[in-house]
Symmetry: C2
Subunit: 218 residues, 2 copies
């Protein structure tokens, strides 16, 4: 278990295409003002140079909020901008190689899409796992069947790591994911496509906090 100090309750994964034509920086700033805990910059088809430029802008923007910035997949971009870490999936760089290249202080998160992958992740000193997808999602069509809330519970019980859920999580179901055992929720369209990303972040955070209070009371 990592001893690094960072919050995972509301985790924003950026999606330029889902941001309704609004600049990504604006969406991220709104989320920061709304209380987002951590941001992952995900760009799947951008050239490296603009990706780095975007990363630098977000890093600068998030600094006053003390919100860590992770980069999806691309360690080169993370190294170039001095990001706080990376989030890697099962098709990305193998975890141990990523850790060697980034060092022990970097935050490294890993997506797990099956129980086998959750089991395997117990061998690694990842900083958190992302259980993916909790619900069916239009943003990751190629993914396995949804794991559901039962999947979240099962994986949280078998995993020695901090865990968040990802996949079609919004205010109305964020609490369920927490009650199922996750420490936090990763949100994509729930913030990026929200009419008011600041308010959407606040609403989701409120649901997460409420679910945690109830869980603690039980």
């Amino acid at each position: 278990m990592s001893q690094k100090s960072f919050n995972l309750e509301i985790y924003l994964v950026t999606d330029r295409e889902l941001s309704l034509g609004r600049p990504l920086e604006w969406v991220v700033e709104q989320a920061a003002r709304g209380g987002v805990d951590i941001v992952q910059l995900r760009e799947k088809s951008m050239d490296t140079r603009p990706f780095i430029e975007e990363g630098k802008k977000l890093k600068q923007l998030l600094k006053p909020y003390n919100v860590p910035l992770l980069i999806n997949d691309r360690l080169d971009v993370a190294l170039a901008i001095g990001a706080d870490g990376v989030h890697i999936g099962q098709k990305d760089m193998p975890y141990r190689t990523a850790r060697q290249l980034l060092g022990k202080d970097a935050i490294i998160g890993l997506s797990v899409e099956t129980y086998e992958q959750a089991e395997e992740a117990n061998q690694y000193d990842v900083d958190y796992i992302a259980i993916s997808p909790v619900f069916r999602t239009p943003t990751k069509e190629e993914l396995n069947t949804e794991l559901g809330l039962e999947g979240v519970t099962t994986i949280c019980k078998m995993s020695r790591h901090r865990a968040i859920g990802i996949g079609s999580i919004k205010a109305h179901n964020a609490g369920d994911v927490i009650r199922a055992g996750a420490e936090g929720v990763a949100v994509v369209s729930g913030i990026c496509s929200a009419d008011d990303p600041l308010q959407a972040t606040r609403d989701i955070k409120e649901q997460v906090k409420k679910a945690k209070t109830v869980s603690a009371d039980l």
Copy 2:
């Protein structure tokens, strides 16, 4: 000017799609047997994990031939496999950042598509420049107008760096590129799509050598 010892006469840039369904490793091995001097692995749409696996295979394969392996664009892949260096284009990581991350011993090449970019490259301690494209090419549709042999001559005169040409270079025109001033030629389809990549490599090398002998005689 770099003092690193590596040959640039015949420089293979891989292209999986142009390899006519034959495994990339086979094409690269044929080129190595035919006398290729340096290989750049270029993958523009591959996931990071298989990209790293492919890079490891090629590195292993090229080792007995003492042929350096460069990675196109992706410093993360280059770092993960311990490649000899990278080749970067104008949309990739800025040169100085790449040098900081890879260190002084790495080979770093830079594509230049205009006289202005060739001028700018004189500020950097790149190990070579690739003049791109010398001739019109179907593999890089988005590129600027071809620079032509006159462009090669102009850039080679203004540049303090070792230079190769790239863009539709095959045996029939390789000698022209050398006579125009380049030290070597980068070849994509001329080897990847050749019926016999080994023989194609030999044929191009012969033309390069012949042009150099003539140039030296003048």
